[in-house]
């Protein structure tokens, strides 16, 4: 096992799968010679050539639309959207087409495609290089939505996404693209889609998060531990389909939940998780369900570090529910 960053783990996953399955192709802006603006596809153009690693014109709608056509025809395309903030021109193709193709064709036509895109803050990117748009897509039946929080999970979940028979939106948190390193299994390494992960067991408060916020929760939990509060952390991993069972089990145990996400609070996916708890675990709840989130503003540039949830704000929420 080699120690890798998330970028390296993703690169490794792409290489492993492209070697294994000749149907797998990669397309997107600057994914070829440049190897992607973050280097996720570094070296792949050289190894697999222009037929399998395609630099496309600057049109997300075209990238996803073409990938759908390829998937219908029998390829297994991986479409890269350079930043999650630039996925909106492809919204129609994703929501109206990829997500509904199996259903509307009575199961006859399918779109086994993966859309990879970097999301979230952490690179001082302001409005348009920082958004976390997972909630938009989580409200779209027919689509799966995956967000890894470690390099090994990134590899395992990406391989599972590529092999999934349905369209998967694979969102990569830029905050931890390079800041985290860990051992990543070589070659084949699959992490099942639809299973959350208990990052840290605990008995007092459940922290629920995904992507870059999982690490923030770990830091907050360490602080809280010093104060005698034992946090359990659930890494959601796949937004859709959501592993409700693991989340419910944890919250039923602790009786207290704090949900953390980077996106604006209103309409964020943490609201859905809260609603599930309020519907299915209310008898177990001993405190309000608190959300620590980005604010209801566009993502700011200079004040980025204030906008993003950090351990201090998370700790505050934990204290609030623990002492309720």
């Amino acid at each position: 096992m080699a120690v890798m960053t998330m970028v390296e783990a993703i690169n490794d996953a792409l290489r492993v799968e492209m070697r294994r399955d000749p149907r797998v192709v990669l397309l997107g802006e600057d994914v070829g010679i440049k190897g992607g603006v973050f280097g996720c596809s570094a070296g792949l153009f050289k190894e697999f050539g222009g037929d399998r690693v395609m630099d496309t014109p600057l049109a997300e709608s075209g990238i996803v639309g073409a990938a759908i056509g390829m998937a219908l025809y029998g390829l297994v395309p991986i479409a890269e959207i350079q930043f999650g903030d630039f996925i909106y021109p492809a919204f129609d193709q994703i929501v109206s087409e990829a997500a509904k193709m199996r259903y509307r064709s009575g199961g006859e036509y399918t779109v086994p495609m993966t859309i990879r895109t970097p999301i979230g803050g952490g690179i001082r990117g302001g409005h348009y290089h920082s958004q976390s748009p997972e909630a938009y897509f989580a409200h779209t039946p027919g689509l799966k939505v995956v967000v890894p929080s470690t390099p090994a999970d990134a590899k395992g979940l990406l391989l599972a996404s590529i092999r999934d028979p349905d369209p998967v939106l694979f969102m990569e948190p830029k905050l931890i693209y390079r800041s985290l390193k860990e051992e990543v299994p070589a070659g084949e390494h699959l992490v099942e889609i639809g299973k959350a992960r208990i990052v840290r067991p605990g008995k007092d408060v459940t922290l629920i998060a995904w992507g870059g916020m999982v690490g923030m929760c770990e830091k907050a939990a360490a602080k809280c531990a010093e104060e005698g509060i034992d946090c359990e952390i659930v890494d959601v991993r796949t937004i859709v389909p959501l592993d409700e069972a693991t989340i419910l089990e944890s919250v039923k145990k602790t009786g207290r939940a704090v949900i953390v996400y980077e996106a604006p609070k209103t309409g964020g996916f943490g609201g859905e998780i809260s609603a599930i708890l309020a519907e299915k675990a209310i008898e177990w709840l001993e405190a309000p369900i608190v959300r620590v989130t980005g604010f209801d503003t566009p993502f700011p540039y200079t004040l980025e570090s204030v906008y993003l949830p950090e351990p201090g704000r998370i700790r505050e929420a934990v204290l609030k529910v623990a002492r309720f």
Binding site: P57, S61, E97, R102, R104, S105, E108
Partner: protein, 371 residues
């Protein structure tokens, strides 16, 4: 720079600028039969809609040559990304009328399981890709399928159909641009019927022709008399040959006219002078092909009668069959969202099923559907 218009049959039915394609008598009559069948289907379906027996319909009236002529130029392994106004493609490729009828009824025998509005067909075996309502999306998908064909080094072609209005959509632009850059074996057929619901051509684009838009994507643009089935055939054949030879995509503009309303929901008298239809009536694609076939002694009056009778019977049988089939079971609503059913879908179906079984949903509301 409008290209000249390709035509084969003069408006009277006599020979014109281009030579007729080499097609066997059987093939010509088959094309003719499907055009007639499409016309009769339209007529019956619009009546069914007026009677409230199907919920919606989109007539292809007047555009039979435009889509059937081009489809005829392609092979069994070529892929179609049609629009809602191209039922004749499915018929020509051997889909039985009754399959279309089941879809229009959205019944339990509909292969798309009653999930989309009428005319949004999908036929996998015939490479007739599921039609959706959002305008233009299929254009980029066709480009992608063609790119895949090229990557796989297969000699197939992807062809996609869309209206004049659709040339304004995002994916007209992305589809043609991608196909151009990747020299993909793709044929783009713009069925220019003069209208996008109530918006006439000049409200859609300031371009002199639709074919002229090809230049922006570095591909040839061909303008063809869309009511001349042999001209459409010839232009498509040429584009397909080009594509198969590795020379990339072509944009074909078929100049035609939407003789009916936009759909069964539309009343064109509110926005267009019925007089404009008069001129186009004289250019009817079926009448023209019939005259040409007769002149060439390929079609007799007896054959004509027989073709129509056969189509009528087929249609009647299809309607009778579709009428007999009930709606899809409620459980089907929860299938095919994904390959497998998520826990959420399982739970939602279980709850609904329980409510339906206990009869607690509003009276007269669900009794009509089997579980």
């Amino acid at each position: 720079m409008s290209p000249e218009m390709v035509s084969v049959m003069a408006e009277s039915g006599a020979a014109a600028s281009h030579k007729p394609p080499e097609l066997s008598k059987e093939r010509l009559l088959e094309i003719y039969r499907v055009m007639v069948l499409t016309r009769l289907l339209d007529d019956r379906a619009m009546k069914l809609q007026r009677q409230g027996r199907i919920g919606f319909y989109v007539p292809a009236l007047g555009q039979e040559a435009s889509h059937i002529g081009s489809a005829a130029a392609l092979g069994a392994d070529d892929w179609f990304f049609p629009s809602y106004r191209d039922p004749g493609i499915a018929l020509l490729r051997g889909v039985p009328v009754v399959s279309l009828m089941h879809q229009c009824y959205g019944n339990a025998a509909d292969n798309t399981r009653g999930r989309q509005m009428p005319v949004h067909y999908s036929f996998k075996k015939q490479h007739f890709v599921s039609i959706s309502s959002p305008i233009g999306t299929q254009i980029a998908q066709a480009a992608g399928a063609a790119m895949a064909m090229k990557i796989r080094k297969e000699p197939h072609v992807a062809i996609t159909y869309f209206g004049d209005g659709s040339t304004s959509s995002n994916d007209f632009h992305t589809g043609l641009n991608f196909a151009g850059v990747f020299a993909a074996p793709c044929i783009f057929v713009c069925e220019n019927n003069g209208w996008a619901i109530s918006v006439p051509l000049e409200g859609q684009t300031a371009s002199a022709t639709m074919a002229a838009k090809a230049e922006a994507y570095g591909m040839p643009g061909v303008r063809v008399d869309g009511n001349d089935v042999l001209a459409v055939y010839a232009a498509t054949k040429q584009a397909a040959d080009r594509a198969r030879a590795g020379h990339g995509p072509t944009l074909i503009e078929t100049v035609t006219f939407r003789m009916g309303g936009h759909s069964s929901s539309d009343d064109p008298s509110r926005y267009r002078d019925p007089k404009v239809c008069e001129v186009w009536k004289t250019r009817d694609p079926i009448d023209r092909f019939k005259a040409w076939l007769e002149q060439k002694k390929l079609l007799t009056a007896a054959q004509e009668t027989e073709i129509r009778a056969r189509c009528d019977a087929e249609l009647q049988a299809a309607i009778d069959a579709a009428e007999k089939v009930g709606p899809p079971a409620v459980s089907t609503m929860f299938e095919d969202v994904y390959a497998g059913r998520t826990a959420q879908l399982d739970e939602q179906w279980a709850e609904l099923k329980d409510a339906l079984q206990r009869g607690v949903v509003s009276k007269g509301h669900h009794g009509e559907f089997p579980l």
